[in-house]
């Protein structure tokens, strides 16, 4: 029983990471209709920035979290402005190629500077245990951090003028222009929020695993699976889909085989889409 509960906790923690990455993707998809495949690589940049700021720069972990989120928010806006905005209105394939180009560029750049995998120390290197369950504090940080950020994002979107403008652009772009919303500004804002979330996920996860130039690759594929399962563009769907995938994956690792853990996400995708072709939720709500 406690083994099962331990796996559930690991599943929630994996799911937390997936949700934080998938939320950004679904927001960007909802508002710009683009599949931002380079999102996982910006996550990777977030992890390396943490290494630079915390390990090389000696900055406190929590301060480093804010620095990484702010810096990656700026990087996200830059990517929107320099890579995606010039391609707006052109065929999807152009955006796709641009994203692949960005992925190759980022990965090559990082590998050129630091080819070895690195590790980041845990800010609180302890393990809690109660009732036969034992849990590293860092896993708790991932879980609670994700809950706080997801709640903050929901409040931002539902309760603020700018957040509602993001929904408005996603629901009717022309209508949004006509009420005076600058679609360019909202696109930049969406990229900033999405990339800051990915950076937070990277900062939370980095102490639990090695960081490497290719760490964003598998993650982005799974995040896309979640976005599709959740209903393209749906926020609720990305949250539900992310936790479901994390749990299933953790249980599959424990009870089936860890060798196939990455295949598992795609099996889930195929099954869910066979049953509900539009995903769990309707998009863009």
């Amino acid at each position: 029983m406690s083994f099962f509960l331990n796996q559930v906790i690991i599943g929630i923690q994996l799911g937390s990471q997936y949700v934080m990455v998938a939320l950004g993707l679904t927001l960007i998809f909802g508002i710009l209709d683009i599949s931002h495949f380079a999102h996982g690589h910006l996550y990777m940049i977030g992890a390396y920035l943490l290494y630079m700021v915390m390990v090389l720069g000696g900055v406190n972990y929590w301060l480093a979290l804010f620095i990484c989120m702010a810096a990656l928010a700026l990087v996200g806006m830059l990517v929107e402005r320099a890579v995606y905005r010039p391609l707006r209105g052109q065929p999807q394939i152009n955006t796709f190629i641009a994203a692949i180009g960005l992925i190759l560029m980022l990965e090559t750049l990082v590998r050129g500077i630091q080819p070895k995998a690195l590790s980041v120390p845990k800010p609180i290197d302890k393990t809690l245990s109660f009732g036969g369950i034992s849990m590293e504090v860092q896993r708790l940080i991932v879980i609670i951090g994700a809950i706080l950020l997801i709640t903050a994002l929901q409040l931002f979107i539902k309760r603020t003028r700018l957040g509602t403008a993001i929904e408005a652009v996603a629901q009717d772009r022309e209508g949004a222009s006509l009420v005076g919303i600058s679609v360019n500004r909202i696109s930049a804002l969406t990229f900033a929020v999405a990339t800051a979330l990915a950076a937070a996920a990277a900062v939370f996860m980095a102490p639990l695993a090695f960081i490497s130039p290719e760490m964003g690759g598998v993650l982005i594929l799974k995040a896309f699976v979640i976005v599709v399962i959740g209903g393209l563009g749906s926020i609720k769907g990305a949250i539900a889909g992310g936790y479901i995938l994390g749990l299933l994956e953790a249980l599959a690792i424990a009870y089936v085989s860890s060798a196939y853990k990455d295949v598992f996400a795609f099996a889930v995708l195929i099954v869910i889409l066979a049953v509900r072709p539009t995903g769990l939720f309707r998009g863009r709500d």
Partner: protein, 235 residues
């Protein structure tokens, strides 16, 4: 107040407006008649900044606006209630209206006043304020679209076929409200295919055909014109 001078607009490679000129004075209610495909919506979108004219000039209150972005034009005081309404279907009625006041977030009190005025104009919107816009009936959606366009306190309101697809009784109510809005000091430019009601409430009118203005005159003169009668009143 609004002046167009030889405006040419294209969608893709197709030229839709081939040199449109017109003039609207402050306080007027002017209608734009034209068959389906004449270019009415294109003309309104061009004024609102959604389409850039490639030749000609549009000026509003003496300032050239033909190269400004839609959000800047809204801030200058022109609001378009578009054909097809372009509401935010999964936002509540209230949030749709508040988005209409997006450019005015600094004066919260005045926005609340405008919201009150819009609710007084269309009481049904207040009843349905927490409902998603997408769940409203066609007539209610049109009222919401007009209400949303008023939330930015425009000095010039562009209404693109507000009666399209609505039952005659609802059309009558909407036309009365448009007159009311105009009486409160908002200049209105209204496009319609069915000229009867539009001419009845307007002072002047223009007739657009294939992207060119072919007629212009007082509403009463246009209503008596044989060609207009044949083409747009169906008499």
């Amino acid at each position: 107040m609004l002046e167009l001078n030889d405006v040419h607009s294209s969608i893709g490679k197709h030229e839709i407006l081939g040199g449109v000129s017109l003039r609207i004075e402050e306080g007027e209610l002017v209608c734009l008649l034209g068959a389906n495909g004449a270019g009415k919506s294109t003309l309104f979108k061009t004024i609102a900044g959604l389409i850039r004219p490639w030749r000609g000039e549009i000026s509003f209150e003496g300032e050239v606006i033909s190269r400004k972005s839609p959000d800047r034009i809204v801030r200058r005081g022109i609001s378009l209630c578009p054909e097809g309404r372009k509401l935010f279907p999964r936002l509540s009625v209230r949030k749709n209206l508040m988005m209409g006041a997006y450019t005015r977030y600094r004066d919260k009190k005045e926005v609340a006043e405008t919201l009150r005025e819009v609710y007084d104009l269309f009481p049904i919107l207040e009843e349905r304020s927490e409902q998603d816009a997408g769940t409203l009936s066609g007539g209610e959606q049109q009222m919401l679209a007009i209400g949303r366009a008023l939330m930015c306190r425009p000095r010039l309101l562009l209404l693109d076929e507000p009666s399209l697809g609505l039952a005659p009784l609802v059309v009558k109510k909407i036309m009365e409200t448009i007159e009311d809005i105009n009486r409160r000091g908002v200049t209105v430019f209204l496009s319609e295919q069915n000229a009867g009601m539009a001419l009845a409430i307007s002072v002047r009118g223009y007739v657009l055909e294939n992207g060119r203005m072919v007629l212009e005159g007082k509403a009463s003169e246009l209503a008596g014109n044989e060609e207009v009668k044949k083409a747009y009143i169906g008499a």
